[in-house]
């Protein structure tokens, strides 16, 4: 039974499930490092997932759909940036409003375009895997190859992009001038301002980057994983991503690894559902698993995690 359970696809599934979480979590990291909390990530992902499908259906080109998803994420995050940086509004309130706006807007536009609530039409072709190597003949080598192929080479493009984003963001945050300034913004904006960093403009950039990454996360959900958009389909992933950002100690690589943990929980949950006849636990308890894991992780880890000092505080130039 266990060899049926721990197949290479379980690990591949973990990495696939981790991808939207990781993209959003890294967006959250960049945003919070600049001093802005972004709980709108849930809604940003939702509009990304939705408009990705809408534009793919309209144009027939799934890559135009991906661009639309990113653009939708950027637009929603622009509202968040305007509210929290320019208007100095409570960032959690703005994020909540945008999450609800995303729910209403996707539902409204869906009914206007497709004439029915619940779900959009499916797209004709999802984005396929990047590589497609033929399977070799039998033997031990074939098993080894199967593992390598499944765990490393079986993914769609955005899965690889997420790994690249994690590495590049980690490098940028710790090895570039932009990264140094970003971290200063979240710790002590007044000091950053004194040495000539444009606090408000830089925060705008950080929030917009998180919007682009959140939109891309949404595109991964619909255009690579599911192929169709249904109401509220992000189901709390934006909030799990924020937890991953905390668990990853506000670093891009940490966010990716923490997302991997939550993605693994999701993969196990999905796998267990197909073993329901053997395990005999109601399906709802599997569905709870990722959320329970987030609470446990936060409970065990929070005491030692300290976020950027100025996060959530609007900055007013004197």
């Amino acid at each position: 039974m266990w060899s049926d359970f721990f197949t290479p696809d379980l690990f591949a599934s973990a990495i696939r499930m981790a991808t939207p979480l990781a993209l959003a979590a890294i967006g959250g990291t960049i945003c919070e490092r600049s001093g802005v909390v972004n709980i709108a990530l849930e809604g940003i992902m939702l509009v990304g997932a939705f408009f990705g499908v809408v534009v793919t259906l309209a144009t027939g080109n799934v890559w135009v759909g991906v661009l639309a998803a990113i653009l939708a994420g950027i637009l929603l995050s622009a509202i968040h940036a305007f509210a929290s940086v320019t208007l100095r509004m409570d960032q959690v309130v703005s994020g909540t409003a945008l999450n609800i706006l995303a729910l209403g807007l996707t539902g409204f536009v869906m009914e206007v375009i497709y004439g029915h609530p619940g779900a959009t039409n499916g797209i004709a072709h999802k984005i396929g895997p990047v590589f497609n190597f033929p399977a070799p003949g039998g033997g031990v080598l074939a098993t080894i190859w199967l593992w390598i192929d499944q765990v490393f080479l079986s993914y769609t493009p955005i899965v690889y992009i997420a790994i690249i984003v994690a590495i590049v963001a980690q490098w940028a945050m710790y090895k570039t001038r932009w990264g140094l300034r970003l971290r200063a913004l979240g710790e002590h904006p007044r000091a950053a301002d004194t040495v000539g960093v444009r606090v408000q403009a830089s925060r705008y950039v950080a929030v917009l980057i998180s919007g682009a990454l959140g939109g891309l996360a949404g595109a991964n959900l619909t255009l690579e994983q599911v192929g169709v958009f249904s109401d509220n389909m992000t189901s709390g992933r934006g909030f799990i991503a924020l937890a991953a950002n905390i668990f990853g100690r506000w670093t891009p690589m940490g966010s990716y690894l923490a997302s991997l943990l939550f993605g693994f929980a999701e993969a196990i949950e999905i796998r267990m559902q197909s073993f329901q006849d053997v395990i005999k636990i109601p399906v709802q308890f599997f569905l709870m698993l990722p959320y329970v894991l987030v609470v446990i992780v936060l409970a065990g880890f929070m005491g030692r995690a300290v976020g950027p000092a100025a996060v959530g505080k609007p900055y007013e130039k004197e």
């Binding site: 709980i39 208007l87 729910l103 807007l105 409204f108 206007v112 905390i246 109601p282 959320y291």
Partner: protein
Amino acid sequence: MSETHEASVIRERMWMKALRTAGVPLLSVVLAMAIGSIIIAASGKDPVAAFGALLTGAFGTPEKWAIGNFKAIGDTISRATPLIFAGLAVAFGFRANLFNIGANGQLLLGSIAAAGLGLALAGLPSLIAVPLILIGAALAGASWAFIPAILKAKVGAHEVITTMMFSWIGLYLTSWIIAGPLADKTVSSQTPMLPEQVWLPTLDKFLPALLRVPVRAHLGFVIAVALAFLVWWILKRTTLGYSVRAVGYNPLAAQNGGISIGITTVYALCISGALAGLAGASEVLGVQHRMFDEVSAGSGFGFTGIAVALLAKNHPIAVIFAAILFGALSAGSSMMQLVANVPDKIVTIIQALIIFFVGAETIINWLIKRRQKLALEQKGATDVE
């Protein structure tokens, strides 16, 4: 001469204060409706017809009132009832600077407790059974807020994430209870119908002379309004309320004054959870008379509760009026969909916009202040003359 001038200045200032208190929420609603109209027009529908249908759906027509048919208003009141509870829940949390974004989970726990206790206590007389069910539902809601509260107090885990996670856990837990232990034998995804003696009676039972047509509004509305006054009194007049407000206003000062931030946090979030639990119970006992599986329902009353609390600026009495506004939007939206063919999701959009504008009061305040400044300057100029 100078006295009358001072009096006029004082009057002017009082008027400004009133405008600033009530002006932001009112302007927010107007702005949100205006943008909602633009969205409706952009989708190719007629906003005037849409809002006309919404008004009729929410309040009925004078012709109907004349024959004692207040069904539409009853619907609005009935939709507003859980929103008062949920709005009070979120507002109470906000007063202690806690954002109970997961009120929906506590609400679901309250619902399931009401659905279960309603069946269990069926033999008891109404006057004993109903209060016991309400207490049970409040406790269930409070229990669902307890772990996030402890985590916030002990390790500082942010309640926005933990209550949200508990909201999803609660959704699947209640879904399992409805599918398993409390399942209706005949129809799936719902619990069995509750016996009539534990229902909260509809208001036409009390006022048959005035309400000649049955309405959906039920006793829960009266309980909700009474509770709003109770919460107001607790916040204003009790030690607990003082601690909650002190911690919310300035935690460090509160701590220096001898108030425990941790204990106040736990109390405040659990009371918030209890109020959310009552929202669920009122809906089960007063409207549905059973509980349905909410997994596919999307956002619930808990989310609208956030909008209600923010619009009411966390004032318990104002929560009643904010809840009635959102109740009217919700009750009227089905008529709007039917008559003007506008998707009822527009109400969710308007809700989000109201939260946004109330939250962005800096911009509205700035508009009001600039207006007043201009007015004062003109006045000053004439005084000098």
